[in-house]
Subunit: 378 residues, 3 copies
């Protein structure tokens, strides 16, 4: 008796099916620094006093297409855990298609939640060093455990793929339509309540002559439970620690041929520390950003001068006491790719960040700094 599962059409070796790649980002954030107290927990822990060289991301990617219907993607990161450099998952998901062309896919495991274009865009491709606070305050590390459904017609699959092949800094294929349910405590954090989050997204890359624009809209809702270890003694909280966590965002992208625009805005409600009442309360939040880029070449080398302004007013649920934030930040910089495998970014950041919790009560930090990043892609 033989195993009757369909054998792969050709007798592929493991390395023809599975591929290994990754990237590394090394940084130095201390040049021209005007305020060593200005820090940014979520975007980069190596800002400010007492910091030096750092690794922001050390990623290994293992991925592959396993026949016509199944693919997988596993990506650990070795730059997590406060400088200890332990390996921790980012992605671990697999896609199962309902059709041979992969137009209708279910995604299982830990993967990016389809909320926000910049959130979907890989840090390997993004030009500013960190994501904007406004949309990235939604889901730490952009990822969650859940089940997602994506629909992408073949034509648009090719378009999403082309955007990255041309070096236009696309998001990859998160569907023209995406829908999913997920735990809602953000990635690599155990689920705490019995309520799942729900997310939906529409995004379409239109061809307008030789230009491509991609407008999008997305929203999610759910109940977030404050982990007790993240609540200071003395902070007042809801009985069950559960808080409404709800957002909607609009996106607009003009891909840089050569001039590019990337802009997003979101509004919503979520837990936020209130220093008047010493309590965590459901509070409105809003904010967004606009990035302007210009893709140009010097000989065979690629240069991306860029500027980004972003603004956020709201809480960060996954920080201490759902820390209260008001962020205004302007960045001006350039990404230089002398060869495919290597990129250098220099970015001058002018920042005003108010971030307050039960312990750090009145904390408006303003200043500027020059940030440098060297990146290898493999």
């Amino acid at each position: 008796q033989e195993d009757t599962l369909v054998p792969p059409k050709t007798n592929l070796k493991w390395f023809e099916t599975i591929s290994v790649g990754g990237y590394v980002q090394a940084r130095y954030n201390r040049l021209l620094e005007t305020n060593p107290q200005l820090t940014c927990e979520q975007c980069d822990g190596s800002w400010g006093d007492g910091n030096g060289f750092s690794l922001r991301r050390v990623r290994l990617k293992f991925s592959g297409n396993l026949g016509d219907y199944v693919s997988f993607y596993i990506q650990p990161d070795f730059a997590s855990s406060g400088g200890q450099h332990l390996g921790q998952l980012r992605d671990a998901y697999f896609d199962v298609s309902l059709d041979k062309n992969g137009e209708y896919r279910f995604r299982f495991g830990q993967s990016k939640v389809p909320y926000g274009f910049e959130n979907m865009q890989s840090s390997q491709n993004r030009i500013p060093l960190d994501r904007n606070d406004a949309l990235n305050s939604s889901i730490r590390n952009e990822r969650e455990l859940g089940v997602f459904f994506y629909w992408t017609p073949t034509l648009i699959q090719e378009r999403f793929s082309m955007l990255n092949k041309l070096g236009l800094k696309g998001s990859g294929d998160y569907g023209v339509f995406g829908f999913g349910v997920f735990n809602g405590q953000t990635g690599n954090s155990p689920e705490l309540n019995n309520k799942l989050h729900v997310v939906g997204r529409l995004s379409y890359p239109f061809l307008l002559g030789s230009q491509i624009i991609e407008p999008g809209i997305q929203a999610y809702t759910g109940q977030y439970q404050m982990p007790t270890g993240n609540v200071s003694n003395g902070t007042m909280v809801n009985n069950d620690l559960n808080y409404l966590d709800q957002r909607v965002a609009a996106s607009f992208i003009l891909y840089p041929q050569p001039f590019g625009i990337q802009a997003e805005y979101n509004i919503g409600k979520g837990p936020e520390f209130n220093k008047e009442t010493n309590s965590i309360e459901v509070t409105p939040l809003h904010g967004g950003y606009a990035t302007l880029t210009y893709k140009t070449h010097i000989g065979n080398q690629v240069l991306f001068p860029f500027t980004r302004y972003h603004y956020y007013n709201g809480g960060k649920k996954f920080e201490r006491d759902a820390r209260s934030y008001e962020v205004k930040e302007l960045e001006i910089g350039v990404e230089w790719q002398p060869v495919k495998a290597f990129e250098l970014v220099a970015m001058y950041t002018i920042s005003s960040r108010r971030y307050e919790d039960f312990i750090i009560r009145d904390n408006l930090q303003e200043g500027s700094l020059l940030r440098l990043q060297a990146q290898v892609n493999f």
Copy 2:
């Protein structure tokens, strides 16, 4: 002067010698749940109240045959550490053969202890979602640091290998005869006492017409030291925290062509919490299971309807206070492999679990739940 080590016969590239593979299991255990207090620390931490989607295993395997005498196997898991998804070793061992055919092998490093067929069988192949408590309470994660010797005649090497190629859910090759010494504190836990454990095993796959049966017998003995961090304040313990840890098990397997039986039973002694005396004492333990499977096909797809009953009465040395257990569990389900790379398991579990330590004193939890798993193999 040239290095005179024997060069490999053919000039192999690294990817012809080393291969990369793995699998991922994503789960949801909350459907049709009748008792949210019913949990199972060892088998799956995402049962019950406050849980949602989870990753049970995220495995990457790096392995290879390095010439005629040496092979290696390294397998980290990224689903450990309570939802934090840090990378942690499962296997890291290498085999050194005394002969070119690999009939006599020594195994060094962290690897599975040859105790129990279901323990040896990979979770990638096992049909029920988790191992039975009776035999799996012997060694957490089935692995230990040590040195093991395996003897497998060439003919039986081929038979073990064929069992998995035919999709018959074999254990892999842990020898017709196995013997080993190991630390005895279970894998990824530091050794604490100066006493090694000893294990021995006999298992032989007989060909009976077109059917294959594999009876086996195995035993181990040693002294287990309770880690102080695992003993509650107030629990009475032996002076040196050392406890006899001793088991013997019988196994019987009829491989599913198409009807399969897998049954094992073990008896022994080990540390167990006694709630009458508030102490950890060496106590008899016993238990086993029987799994019935049927391998069938719908077109090119494979289906494995199955049922398992398992029972365990004894302690779990690696849990708090060597927690006292009495488990009765009936499972009915089906594994569906629409394509080689993807499997879905749905399993209805009817469970009665008593588990008690110094803190949780009277704790009999009964209930049932539907468990779902999606798995990708690469």
Copy 3:
């Protein structure tokens, strides 16, 4: 519009660019042990009482040349973290050359600090099981986050490469001239002060007839900040916890054709616990070692009988209270390579180690033990 970055000359597959390899070391240190209290925190945590089988290193290496100018190297280890076997970075760096021949290279990320030949030499190649205390007390795990510059003329690149191909246990290519700046808190430890360390090194492999000798000189200086978690209650410290950390070392290597010498000595200043004053003070330190080896063959198998004596008097800044050390150790052993992929080392160690901090106050441990290691290379 097409991306104008230079395409790779040939259309390489991922596995032709990236390669995966590694090695595993399994050990047993308890034979012929005369003093179970004799331990060595830095060199091998599995010496002495309560220990058994252990994994000293489980390394996976991902590396590749990405075109003419860029290469990368990522190496996690799975034997760290006190027996828990979590994955943690050792190396994560990438080299960017200024010229096509790679003579002038900048190295970004976490990599070995060019201080000491034995520190540069891979543990995969080193014959004694652990590095000498004298030079290895400089930088835990030999690695730091920083930026380094290396200059290696093409001729010497080939010589460095040949030394390892011939099995002569070279250091690899850390330049004829090396220079760098780095955080200074040692690898996988977050930077604490705002002061970078600086290091410089000269090392040249001379051809003398058929023999190769490599003299070298190296030095580094910086301010080390004691981490508060590493200072016992009651220990007196500098106000800002900062201490001068400064060393210079000389190296001499005669590669084993067949008789080899490897000798190094360093002097310097650094934090050290003083049990008279209960304080951590900047104190002079000095020490070195000499290793004698003989490379011989039995048929196609390689044997390296060896002996090493090493001495160290000074502090270990990265241990509790900058623990005070005086080490005298003699080792006699043999490395046996029956085949390329597998090595066995047996090493008899006669040791006198005084190591004292605020808690362990008078602690001179003397004794001897037989140490065994099995290693697989892939």
